[in-house]
């Protein structure tokens, strides 16, 4: 095969290159730049080395918000993935109800994140909110602006409400791609419905579930808007997740160096966990 040499073709890659550069590479490098320097304004920078990284890694405040972040992410994964699969299994496979179900499921995904936060904030207010008022009316002492446990419960419920649909839609796509013949073969074998789930549906959903877990993991690890609007990190620091803490340091205190160092650590944690998870899930493939 003779290769056609056409140097002009490089120009075709240029738009994407520029987009990625301005979108990702340049901002990231700016952050790297900040993370190794100290500044007192006036664009005066002093070399600081790994000082900020050491400070962040030793800081108890960072440990606490990382802990809360991990707790949040693993909680919602533990709820949303099984729940999503159960709902997908319960959804009809054919008939007019399919589109109704799909549209209903897609609804929460279409709502802007800050609107979700505001909705749940009002919904859960103890005096006028439908949920808050109802819970208190039932004799349960509930006030998410004052009780850490109530704040967490509300936060988790909001995320489950907002994002379980995504898992449902992905799992459903995996389910409908299984040919009928598999179910017939299982029926002939006399397999129980648990066996059908365990040996046919679950393995066939493995790929989409891997994607679902990865997406939910990364998104929930980055979550900012909804908890910010709902609780603002409170009461106290009880729902201050990593991203909220980061914004407090960067914009509240204007500590650019530590904030930049924290961003990079944050980024590396997500990257590392995603990579480990993906490698584990895909170990047996091929």
């Amino acid at each position: 095969m003779n290769k056609t040499v056409n140097q002009k073709a490089w120009f075709l890659v240029l738009p994407v290159l520029l987009l990625v550069a301005f979108n990702a590479i340049i901002p990231l490098m700016t952050v790297v730049n900040y993370s190794v320097q100290e500044t007192f304004g006036d664009n005066n920078f002093f070399w600081a080395g790994v000082l900020w990284f050491e400070e962040i890694l030793r800081s108890e405040r960072f440990h606490a918000s990382l802990g809360r972040q991990l707790f949040f992410t693993f909680s919602i994964l533990a709820i949303e993935i099984p729940l999503g699969v159960i709902i997908a299994l319960a959804m009809p496979r054919k008939g007019v109800w399919v589109s109704v179900c799909l549209v209903l499921m897609a609804m929460p995904l279409l709502i802007p994140w800050n609107v979700v936060g505001a909705m749940w904030n009002i919904f859960a207010l103890p005096d006028i909110g439908l949920l808050g008022n109802m819970l208190n009316g039932m004799g349960i002492d509930y006030n998410f602006t004052r009780q850490p446990v109530a704040a967490w419960a509300t936060l988790l419920a909001m995320d489950v409400w907002h994002w379980t649909s995504l898992v449902v839609l992905l799992a459903y796509a995996g389910l409908v791609s299984i040919p009928d013949a598999y179910y017939q073969a299982a029926k002939i074998d006399g397999a129980s419905s648990w066996a059908i789930f365990r040996y046919i549906q679950l393995p066939k959903m493995k790929r989409v579930l891997t994607i679902a877990i990865l997406l939910r993991f990364m998104d929930s690890f980055n979550i900012y808007t909804e908890p910010f609007v709902l609780t603002g990190g409170g009461p106290g620091n009880s729902t201050t997740l990593l991203s909220i803490d980061l914004v407090k340091i960067a914009l509240g205190q204007f500590d650019l160096g530590p904030a930049a160092a924290m961003s990079l650590i944050y980024f590396l944690v997500i990257l590392l966990l995603s990579w480990v998870f993906y490698t584990l899930m895909m170990r047996n493939e091929e």
Binding site: A185, K187, I188, P203, N284
Partner: protein, 355 residues
């Protein structure tokens, strides 16, 4: 063992999938369901298996009415066109799965799986997963799973359709051998007449939800009871034309006619349909019973040592299948020769004239 369908029919949402059908299938012979896609082969098999309940009629197995018996308790195996295996089990566990459901001893399972794997030549692959195997091997695993238990009824739904030619030939050779020793009713669905002829046994031809004929494969092929059966059991398609019997002459047109002969001398004058198989239409005169037909070539396909010539004649599309390489250009006018000693005549009801 025997499986009997008594006036079995199936309607789905007001549409008839299977018209009332009577069929009696015995163990020891290959029973073939031959028909095009959507002719009802799969539905009929699902009725036999008990995966679907008949709308009316009864299904009897060994003199026992099993119509309302669920599929799990009927001891049935089925092999599909798609390669159906449990994706995250090894080949061994896949084959063993029906035995595990039957709660068989571990040592017995090992024995049985080993034996069947040897017959199907997959002994070396027992530790692998289905996704690591080729299509042919995957289908062998599916077959092994169907054969490992002593099923009373084994159903094959076009199992070779998704395989490439060579693997198909291999499995075609093996299948009758595997079943020769088993005491189970075997049903095999296919769209290909050549496959039916290769397996022999008995054939039921199906068309639009009806079994048009059931009998020894060779007999159904040589003596199709109707035009439909002949058409289903002919690949490439059967050549047909309207013919008039006038005295002692069969006449398609002023140019094309031939003597009626002894065999059909007694049938009344009138309009008939003549059917001639493609391999009885030649590019050259082969015998005295050949008649010349003028045609316009549409396309000539040459495959190795065979020529398939599609041509239009007397307002119909005809096909000639012959040995040797015969080259034609499209739109070329030519004369072909049909052997009227080897043709079928059907009456106004499309039934075969047996004289």
């Amino acid at each position: 063992m025997s499986l009997e369908l008594r006036q079995v029919s199936k309607n789905v949402d007001g549409e008839t999938y299977i018209y009332p059908t009577d069929l009696r299938l015995e163990a020891g012979v290959f029973n073939i369901l031959l028909g095009t896609t959507l002719s009802g082969k799969t539905t009929l098999m699902q009725l036999m298996a008990g995966l679907e309940k008949p709308t009316s009629g009864e299904i009897w197995f060994n003199g026992e009415n099993v119509t309302s018996m669920p599929v799990q308790t009927r001891n049935v195996s089925m092999v599909y066109q798609q390669f159906i295996n449990y994706p995250n089990m090894t080949v061994f566990e896949n084959i063993a799965s029906p035995l595990r459901v039957a709660k068989m001893q571990n040592s017995d399972i090992k024995n049985r799986v080993g034996k069947i794997a040897e017959i199907l030549q997959i002994s070396q692959m027992l530790d692998r997963r289905p996704s690591e195997l080729s299509g042919g091997q995957q289908q062998r695993v599916a077959m092994a799973r169907a054969l490992v238990k002593d099923s009373h009824l084994i159903l094959f739904d076009e199992p070779l359709a998704n395989l490439d030619f060579k693997l198909r030939e291999e499995l075609r050779d093996e299948l009758p051998r595997i079943f020769s020793e088993r005491n189970s009713v075997v049903v095999y669905a296919t769209t290909e007449p050549s496959e039916a002829l290769l397996f022999g046994g008995k054939t039921a031809t199906m068309f639009e939800g009806k079994v048009t004929q059931f009998g020894d494969t060779g007999e159904v092929y040589r003596q199709p009871n109707s035009l439909k059966t002949a058409q289903v059991f002919s690949e490439p398609p059967l050549n047909t034309a309207i013919v008039h019997k006038i005295g002692d002459v069969f006449k398609i047109s002023d140019d094309v006619s031939w003597p009626v002969g002894q065999k059909y001398a007694q049938i009344p004058d009138g309009e008939y349909t003549v059917g001639i198989r493609p391999h009885h239409v030649y590019p050259h005169r082969m015998s005295d019973s050949n008649i010349a037909i003028e045609g316009v070539v549409q396309v000539a396909e040459l495959s190795g040592s065979e020529s398939m010539i599609h041509f239009r004649t007397m307002g119909n599309s005809w096909v000639s299948l012959s040995h040797g390489v015969h080259v034609y250009a499209a739109q070329e006018k030519t004369t072909l020769f049909a052997d009227v000693a080897n043709c079928f005549y059907f009456d106004a009801n499309r039934k075969l004239i047996t004289a």
